[in-house]
């Protein structure tokens, strides 16, 4: 535990906790919209921003936020048009993003270690200014996702109904796209672009094994995200493993525990109520006898 007396470890822990809380709060909307892997693609594009930042000697995180936002907005516009070719357009954007990133990082004076830091995360090198960025942007994401929950739930659950309700569907969709880009970019320092989607999606997948409503799923996913981030950093510090990978593995372990526990509980409950349980009978759709 004494490791956490060092300021860099404290920063690593705080950064991870902020991301662990914010990523599932956004991720639940992406999962509901069947865009669970979009974070991965946006992460690919953020890498181009990182490369451009390193090359231009600007803050890589800031340039990555801008590039990833532009990429996410493009993805949203392709999705909204609903063309079948959208699939291929996304592939072009994603792989263009990662190839561009690798090339630009190579052109800059940086070493391959800095590329690795963004690909797989580098919690222990978070500087105080980085932590401020993570905390401010993470808080902004959290507040937005929680305060707009009814509206964001409506557009992700039934977009046409939301349009007929007069909601600003396009603006909300673009907001969600930009929020994805921002979350990806701040999470990049913690778990790396290749593992970001896991923090957005796995806690949600775990929570929905046992929850009944959207709100309770969101709360449980945020709690699981927080747990995965905290315990992952703790494991990494004590076992000297890669922090990003440790956080993601803790999230997947919590998924396994919740899924198994949920299944076991359902079996137990079914057995207990098995005797009086009569199947729900729907009335006949045809008139069987005329009286």
């Amino acid at each position: 535990m004494e490791l956490f007396q060092y300021p860099y470890m404290q920063r690593a822990l705080i950064g991870a906790l902020v991301i662990g809380l914010a990523a599932p709060a956004l991720g639940i909307y992406l999962v509901q919209r069947r865009l669970a892997l979009i974070g991965d693609g946006v992460g690919h594009m953020a890498l181009t921003g990182v490369g451009a930042g390193l090359l231009l000697n600007r803050s890589p995180v800031l340039v990555a936020v801008i590039v990833a936002s532009l990429g996410a907005i493009t993805v949203e516009l392709v999705r909204a048009r609903g063309r079948t070719s959208g699939d291929l357009a996304l592939a072009l954007l994603f792989y263009g993003g990662i190839a561009g990133g690798v090339m630009l990082v190579g052109l800059s004076d940086s070493t391959s270690t800095s590329l690795n830091a963004y690909l797989f995360g580098s919690l222990s090198t978070i500087a105080p200014t980085d932590l401020t960025t993570i905390a401010v942007l993470g808080a902004a994401i959290l507040v937005t996702m929680l305060s707009l929950r009814p509206a964001l739930f409506a557009i992700c659950h039934d977009e046409e109904y939301a349009r007929v309700s007069g909601l600003p569907v396009r603006a909300l969709n673009l907001l969600l796209a930009v929020a994805t880009a921002v979350t990806v970019t701040i999470a990049m320092r913690a778990v790396g672009v290749l593992l970001i989607s896991a923090l957005m999606v796995v806690p949600v997948a775990a929570a929905q094994q046992v929850t009944r409503g959207f709100r309770s799923t969101m709360t449980a996913a945020m709690a699981l995200g927080l747990f995965a981030a905290g315990s992952g950093v703790y494991v990494a510090a004590n076992a000297d493993t890669a922090p990003g990978a440790s956080v993601v593995l803790m999230a997947i372990a919590s998924f396994a525990v919740v899924a198994l526990g949920g299944a076991g509980w359902r079996i137990l409950r079914r057995r207990r109520v098995a005797a009086p349980d009569t199947p729900a009978v729907e009335p006949h759709e045809v008139v069987l006898s005329q009286s």
């Binding site: 999962v31 509901q32 009814p150 659950h157 309700s165 007069g166 909601l167 009944r212 729900a280």
Partner: protein, 253 residues
């Protein structure tokens, strides 16, 4: 004459160069219950979707509550009941959460729900007979019950016009009756209804006018037409299943 609620003037609608509807004119006035009938693929759903602005017109115009649809902003006056509940990505949602979305048009996206919102949601759920299922995930409900959730969502917004797209297709008899009851209550309160249907079933006594869409145009506009052929058989009850019998909860699959 009552105030016009929906005015469609010489509208044409097409998808990717193929014309689905042409030269459609239709007026629905306040207090009417209009059924849009027609065979599958006749464009009756397209017509209602165009009224709501979900499908663009290639020519002509739509007016809502005496305003051009393009400038219409009072969406809380309209309640929309789609054909089915989207499956979504598997994140659970309770019946209450889905119905509460019906209040957004009235309250806006920033204001948190208040007492009036909660009361409207409870009243709407009671009207469709689902007051005891509010905390259940919608995916555990049968197809007919899910359809009732959708009409409750529309009713929760306390609209003046209900637009329903095949609300009773593939719905069990108990849900059809609950549905007809809720609709009757809405009409008795002065509401206007535009309803797409393949078959009217228990809704038939409520309908004040029928519009039949056929071959891209309106083939009939007036009283509900008498059923033809074997449908006219006095013993024919109009309660036969559509297509293969479908298991309950199909929409959630």
């Amino acid at each position: 004459m009552n105030a016009p609620v929906i005015t469609v003037t010489r509208a044409a609608i097409g998808y990717e160069g193929r014309t689905v509807l042409r030269d459609i004119s239709l007026t629905v006035t306040s207090g009417e219950v209009v059924a849009v009938l027609g065979a599958n693929g006749s464009g009756k759903s397209t017509l209602t979707r165009a009224v709501l602005g979900l499908v663009p017109l290639s020519s002509g115009s739509v007016g809502l509550f005496d305003q051009p649809a393009r400038r219409f902003r009072q969406w809380h006056r309209i309640g929309y009941v789609p054909q089915r509940l989207g499956a979504g990505g598997g994140v659970p949602a309770t019946v209450r959460e889905v119905v509460a979305a019906g209040r957004l048009a009235r309250r806006g996206i920033l204001r948190p729900p208040g007492r009036a919102d909660r009361r409207a949601v409870a009243t709407a759920l009671a009207a469709v007979g689902l007051a005891d299922r509010t905390g259940d995930p919608v995916s555990t409900l049968s197809g007919g019950q899910q359809q009732r959730v959708l009409i409750a969502r529309a009713l929760a917004g306390e609209p003046e016009l209900l637009v329903l797209d095949e609300p009773t297709a593939g719905v069990d008899a108990a849900s059809q009756e609950a549905f007809a009851g809720a609709l009757q209550e809405f009409v008795a309160g002065g509401g206007t209804v535009l309803l797409v249907a393949h078959e009217l079933g228990p809704l038939r006594p409520l309908i004040s006018r029928a519009v039949v869409v056929h071959a891209g145009g309106i083939a009939h506009d007036g009283p509900v037409p008498e059923p033809a052929g074997h449908h006219a058989d006095p013993d024919h009850d109009h309660v036969h299943p559509h297509g293969p019998t479908e298991p309950a909860g199909l929409w959630s699959a």
